[in-house]
Structure formats: C-alpha cells, structure tokens
Symmetry: C2
Subunit: 226 residues, 2 copies
C-alpha cells in the first residue's frame, strides 16, 4: 500500500471559502472524482449542485451545519442538516455549541449534537455520518474531554479538531488527545492547516481517520512525484 | 446635543465572540440598558436570554442569520430568523448570499434576503428590522452596487458593511459608497473594527446610521471624559 493509497481516501476535500462559487464547487467535484477522496465538503447552498455532479461516484457529499461558530440554535442546525440530507448529502460536519459548553450547559451541548444526528435519521439518509467540530482553539483540555464525551453520547460518528477558519487548525497534540478520548468506533478528523503530504502523515500517525484539506490537488501531486 | 447623545443611541452592541457565554450576554444586556444603545446583537442561541434580560427596556434585541459566511440556504436563514423573532428578537443582521452573488445568481441573492424579510412578517414581529451584511471585503465595487440594489428590492431595512469576523471591517470609503447607493429610507450600518469615539464619528460623517461595536464600554467611557 503506497502513501497515496493511504492518504487520498481519508481526505474530505473542503471547498468552504466564504466566496466559493458554483464553478469552484464543480471544479472540486471533478477533482475528488478523479483522485478518489472520501468526500467533498461544500457549503449548504451547494449540496444539490455537488450531489448532481457526483451522482454515481463513490465520493460522498458532505456539508456543514452551524458553521463556523456553532452558536445558532439546535433547531437551526437540525433543520440545516435535515435539508442537506434530503438534498443528497451523506455527511454533516456540525460545529459544537461552543457558547453552551463555555457556559457549563452540558445538556444543551449533548442535545445539540443529538438534534443533528436525529435529523439524519428523520431525513432517512443511508449510513449518515455526523462529525462534531470541537474548534479546539477555544477549549481547555478538560473542555475537550467533556465535549468528546457529550458528542459520543449523542451519537456522533466522528469528532473533529477545527473548522479551518478559527485562529488555530489541527495540531498533532489535539489529534492524539481526541484519539485517546474517543472510543474506537468513533473516528477522529483532523482539519485546519493540513497542506502537505507530511502534514497528512503526521496527523494519521497521531490517530486521525479523516483529514480535512483544501490543498488536495497539491497533496495528490506531491504524492505522485514521491 | 453632545457627541454622547449622538453616538450611543446609534450603537448595536455586539456580543458575538465565538465563545461568548451566557454571562457575557447578561453583562452585555446590563451595559446596553445602562448606556442606552440602539440594540444588543447576540448569537441566536442567546435570544431568549437577552429578550428576558431586556424586557421593559427600550433597547432592542438583535441577532444574526447565516452568520458569518452567508453560505447556508435561504430556507435555513429564514427558519433561523423566524425562530429568533418568535423568541423576542427585534432585529436580524443576516449575511448576504456571497457565494451566490459571486456566481452571478442575482435572483438567488434577492430571494435570500426576501426570505428573511418575509420571516419577520410570518413571525408577526412588531416593526422588524432586517439588516443585510454585504461583507464588502469579498466584493468589487460593482458587486457592492448590485448587492445593495438586490437587498433594497427585497425589502431590507439596512445594508451593513461587514461581519466583523472577515479580513476587513468597515472603511469610510465603503460606508460612503453604501450611503450613495442605498435610497434614503434604507439605513447604512458600519461594523467591524470600530473601537473609538473617533472611529464612530468618522463613520457617522461618512453616512452611517448605525454602528456595530463591541467596545461600547470603552466608547461610552471615552465620551464621558471628553
């Protein structure tokens, strides 16, 4: 198994720039279909476009909910997720209710994740995947522990380090911590600042099962030449 | 009329940090009730908390929709706004569908604003105010012109420069441009990086009717001592 075979199928290719256009989304869909990432992750507005472009492809369609602050209500996140699943999304990367966690309202944090997990089933999605973005840069290690516990209790399939839009992205230390905290059946996604083959390998070594990247073309080309 | 009398009633006091807690929101409510801003602007999750804290006060409760990227669907923004109005919000600062504008899909941009304006009436809000954040840092001057035209057509009450979370905040040039572009009955809100009395006065001179600030305490104190 080559590095290419290991890395590319773990990538969620992110097209999440605030001004990403329909053409950017379509170019992203071409890229992921060509190289064979796990998924493409696009803004909710583009789910239908991506789902059509990737029809028949094994690459999953992912989108976000409550992104990137996580400070909207659980009802809004659940509505957003339900609509996305109904439009053809397979995976949702939701942002944790950071404001609620910071306020010590742990039940609200758990219910918030549960609302999105529930939305997947209400929308009758096939093998839906819900990833919970902790945005670790705002959390203490103790808060990370609590967040992982609550997300797992609520049925999350992955815990994820970062949105990629906050002041800090994925670090090896945080990926290792999340891998230690989460039970084996829950995946760990590293995202934010992962731009090279070396970055990818460091995150995988630390325990990541998925990698959020927007430099996928560069990474794929880097792999091809090594 | 003193500078204090002019500036403070034009401020929307923003408590929009990604990790703003319930206590931060309550402290903000105390501050705005004391100094008499136009409104407080808090995350959707805290609308009920702020509406209760400010019951009987003339200070309006504001929140955001599709914040800060504007890249979710119109249905999600409308749902978010409807829930906020139903919970006691008076004003919504929504983010323009930047991705749609950048894709040349102008009808989608207009419908997106109209969906939120409509939500205010569905929720039976009294004198609802909808502000449309252009996030000017991503737009050309021609795109700003188109955005203002579409927002006005869709019934927006204000156009607003920035989220405060993007790479650039309000500039005098952009406030002046929006004031020229918008009809007189539509207000202009300057937001992002407005931290001092001097900043406030510069924005008002450029034509701003509202100011988004998180340094309201500092500004109020600055005014008191000058």
């Amino acid at each position: 198994m080559t590095a290419m075979d290991r890395i590319i199928p773990m990538i969620d290719h992110a097209v999440l720039a605030p001004d990403a256009t329909r053409d950017d989304v379509l170019a992203g869909c071409e890229l992921v279909a060509e190289v064979g990432t796990a998924s493409i992750c696009i803004h909710p507005r583009w789910v239908t476009v991506a789902a059509e472009a990737l029809q028949g492809s094994p690459v999953a369609v992912g989108t976000v909910a409550g992104f990137p602050l996580g400070a909207t209500t659980s009802e809004v996140k659940a509505f957003e997720a339900r609509q996305a699943f109904a439009r053809g999304a397979d995976e949702i990367d939701m942002v944790l209710a950071i404001t609620a966690l910071k306020s010590g309202d742990y039940a609200a944090v758990r219910d918030d994740v549960a609302a999105v997990v529930g939305a997947a089933y209400i929308a009758d999605a096939e093998e839906p995947v819900v990833k919970v973005i902790l945005e670790t840069c705002y959390l203490t290690d103790e808060e990370k522990r609590i967040a992982v516990e609550l997300a797992v209790e609520a049925g999350a399939h992955f815990v994820k380090t970062s949105t990629g839009l906050g002041p800090e992205g994925a670090t090896v230390a945080n990926v290792r911590l999340l891998r230690e905290l989460a039970p084996e059946h829950v995946g760990v996604k590293a995202a934010g600042g992962i731009r090279t083959v070396e970055d990818c390998l460091a995150m995988i070594d630390a325990g990541a099962n998925r990698l959020g990247c927007s430099s996928t073309r560069k990474i794929a080309d880097g792999l091809e030449t090594t």
